[in-house]
Amino acid sequence: MEIRDRIRRGEMSALEAVDEALRQLDVVNPRLQAALQIFPDGARTAAAAIDRRLAAGEDAGPLAGVPFTVKDNFCTLEGHTTAGSRILESFASPYDATAVRKLKEAGAVCVAKTNLDEFGMGSSTENSAFHVTRNPWKTTHVPGGSSGGAAALAVSTGGMIHLGSDTGGSIRQPSACCGASGLKPTYGRVSRYGLVAFASSLDQIGPIQSSALDCALVLETIAGADPMDSTSRDLPVPRYADEAQQDIRGLRLGVPAEYFPEGIEAEVEEKVRAAIEVFREMGAEVRDVSLPHTRYANPAYVLVSAAEASSNLARYDGVHYGRRSVSASGLVDMYCRSRGEGFGAEVKRRILIGTFVLSSGYYDAYYLTALRVRNLIRQDFEKVYREVDAVVCPTSPVPAFPLGDRIDDPLKLYAVDVLTVPANLASLPGMSIPCGFTSEALPVGLQIYGRPMQDEIVLRLACAYQARTDHHLRAPPVCGWRGGEEGG
């Protein structure tokens, strides 16, 4: 991470780094609308404090002065925590999410919060209650979602850390759409405390950067056990940045036929297959594998995630925080109207489906069935991981699509998650890195799946690929980091 090294060497102050981040946000945000909130005053104050500590010869942390953004479903002491929803529009969190706290303790400085589909429910960032975000490669197109704001900034700005969250692909799919490098760590690797809950058995926090090596550095900082999240695993945190730079010779990669489904765009398949050849050239062993239940993953995901969402979102009752309807009479009416007024259409759809599949008479037929299928997906991977160390495939069957193209048909939008949801159902680490561009100059994402708690293998493969290729170094037309010029 160049910015970190420059601050360390004293070539740049933390304040200069933050001012540069703010300048870049000023350049790109009017065109991309990637950030929901920017904190110039708070960030400059925090940076000045870091500079004073550095001047006094103190250790200000491994990421001293590095600016960061978080998706707006992370609780932060800065600004509001909206989750992209009207119902939380004025919610000011009284605490920082653990991942945010860890970044701050490492010396990083919060500069902005990024746009998302409401509560993380969507694959295009068009479901934000506030505004849509645009793709820096083509502003008529979506950046993917739900971490669309973070992915758009990861490639259009430089010298910042970006955190996103992934419940069914929300780090990896926008990374693919924007040409960013995004890691969904193994479930339990990063504490979810302070992440606005969508589906608790699937949600995971991770970095979205312009390179896999930067993702490794960020993971090193945010990973680890947390007493505030009992699902965070108490396992040693490797030095991911060192691990990521190890040789990949001899690693065995599986290519599942099921991940090149009917309907996949020809250019996506072509670029991904070419990337797999690069791994072979670098000394990895590539073989065909089968994950036979892949086609059932998305229907199972739709049911499981909706069920958990309906339970998690019951907390928005207009009593403790968030919006309360002013036109209600009585308590139950107040609940119903506050929620009816505060949630957007897609969130309501998922709450209703989730309530339905958990309701008496339908639980076995839908929810329990979906959980059984979840087990089959997991078993598929367990079998394959006896023969290979990682699985490589496309991140999404399609590149970024035009704004408005899928938003009116929820099922059409769900379809783009088909290759990412298995990682969440099976609690695996998964990463997307750019592996080429279509004839329309839109990025194509290569996805790497690893074994549980072997995030370092995923990062190692991604770093090795990026050491051989330069797709991740290309600047999009909307860009703030190349001398501050737009145009590419």
């Binding site: 009284p94 229907p299 009752d317 403790h320 009479s329 009816g340 259409a345 209703l352 979840r374 549980p452």
Partner: protein, 104 residues
């Protein structure tokens, strides 16, 4: 299965979601589509397959039962739409101001 207006209304009630007429019609259509989408799962033989909630074998994790500072009442109430410190304020629930609770 048959998706009726009554089913959507019942689920909306259980979800504590007030829906307009147009919204209810849209949700009914959405139910049909989703149930069609997931019907593919019916073709699987799931006999003997256990349901899996988490795919990692983490058992229950408990922390020491030691007192620790928690959120001060003032901070907890700061985001309340209506409060009478140290209490949250809700509409009247006794007498005839609230509708009776429903059973699922």
């Amino acid at each position: 299965m048959d998706v009726t207006d009554e089913l959507v209304a019942k689920i909306a009630r259980l979800s504590r979601l007030a829906l307009g007429e147009e919204e209810s019609a849209e949700m009914k259509e959405h139910f049909r589509k989703v149930l069609g989408f997931v019907s593919e799962l019916e073709s699987l033989d799931l006999e003997g397959v256990a349901p899996s909630l988490f795919a990692l074998d983490a058992s229950n994790v408990q922390r020491e039962d030691e007192p620790a500072p928690s959120l001060p009442a003032g901070a907890a109430l700061a985001n309340a739409p209506a409060a009478h410190p140290p209490f949250f304020l809700v509409p009247r629930i006794v007498g005839d101001a609230g509708e009776p609770e429903m059973s699922p």
